[in-house]
Symmetry: C2
Subunit: 297 residues, 2 copies
Amino acid sequence: MSDFVRIVEVGPRDGLQNEPAMVATADKIELVDRLSATGLRSIEATSFVSPKWVPQLADAAEVMAGIQRRPGVAYPVLVPNEQGYERARAAGADEVAVFTAASEAFNRRNTNASIDESIERFAPVLARARQDGVRVRGYVSTVLGCPYQGAVPLADVVRVARRLHDLGCYEVSLGDTIGVGTPRQARDMLLAVAAEVPMAALAVHFHDTWGQAVANVAACVEAGVRVADSAVAGTGGCPYAKGASGNVASEDLVYMLHGMGIDTGIELEALADTGRWLAAKLGRATGSKVGRALAAA
Amino acid sequence: MSDFVRIVEVGPRDGLQNEPAMVATADKIELVDRLSATGLRSIEATSFVSPKWVPQLADAAEVMAGIQRRPGVAYPVLVPNEQGYERARAAGADEVAVFTAASEAFNRRNTNASIDESIERFAPVLARARQDGVRVRGYVSTVLGCPYQGAVPLADVVRVARRLHDLGCYEVSLGDTIGVGTPRQARDMLLAVAAEVPMAALAVHFHDTWGQAVANVAACVEAGVRVADSAVAGTGGCPYAKGASGNVASEDLVYMLHGMGIDTGIELEALADTGRWLAAKLGRATGSKVGRALAAA
């Protein structure tokens, strides 16, 4: 059996929520269905954060009602608190994701709460999810740097990741939200967390703001991680805009992993087709170099 | 003493020769001078290949006459044969670079010669350079794949690299011309060559067509290489064009290396400024993500 890395496709949520062009509900549904047809096993479908904060994803319930649930594919949705959890469950979600940051300054600016307070907000979500048999994924953001406080102590990343795991998150995704990390920092951060949380319960999540995301995933895969988050077409910020902060493109990761002899279960050409289709809906070129190279081939 | 990687800046040659927009001679001279002011130690200044093949660099002699030679900086120029060597020397070059490919098919298509014939063409260059005290760099292209023959046997890469080193090249640059390689392939290729040519005499040269270049350099640096070729602003193909095939951006490599605790002697902000200045001359945005991120900061 060959080595396997699971890609968690976050384009429909983390990607779209940061795109300026509004996407029609029917297109979001088609996006998720196209993605599930490529062989992806995990697709973050939408967010139940308040539409006040994320207008792009105000149609979360409609998206959940419209997608075709493919057997063997998980469709986690983001929830900020118990109210969001209830809305997600009413919409049929059977996996959710909660989030906090490793940086106190980032938490205060983004959620008007300390790290501990943000965890208190979603602790009831974890309790209810356990009763309901709902799996919960946890995000830790700003693991390699914070736009407000700068450096983020490794001990804070480890402490927050461990707390999420102890609270019942089956997987903790370690996110370089502002895309500043480089390969050795990424590997060292991962290994520090893996000393306290099993590697099999960890995922990495890189943005490509400083052009390091593919290299960072490579370094983390070599260090043992087997789950990586990414967004088709590198959505999450226009690649041509100043200071764009898109997620690493799923196509570029899948190409790399297959080239490294690692299976993903994903059909690369179908994924790249979906990326170009989505980019056209967003009115721009795909942010995936693999997507462009395949189109030219 | 901290670890050091030498960047060989190939933007003025490998970058510009593949850019559709013609650049004025005065701008090329300013480009080289701006680059030497950033702390770069090696700048490939131009090419003495026939202007019939590379119209963009028809002003090679004027460029060489116009640049300011900064002490401690090498300004290699590309030469295809003895006639090119004579023109380069007449223009004041004191370092040259010769080139061949690891793929027979690529050599035949690009130079109408076999690998052995292409080496025979520049063997006299190496003999004359030895007499003249001129240092010679050697390029081996298509080391991880060929657009015509597909896979390139590792044994061919090793054989050609060793031949260039045996003939007197002080450094052999291993080029993934079509940017198809992934990190483990890149590392394995480097280590196979390093078994026959000293690692200290090797450089890596990646194009970012498939989004893998930064990751490939990281893998090769971890495997021991200490010289990497790159082009400021990721020149060598418009990043927005279909199937663009730019060199890896120097800014993105320098950012990565500094983040890995490795010195380059280069001032990143000055390099990124130069990249944006060049991109403006080319009528497009910089192909460097670091260049864009710094502009937005």
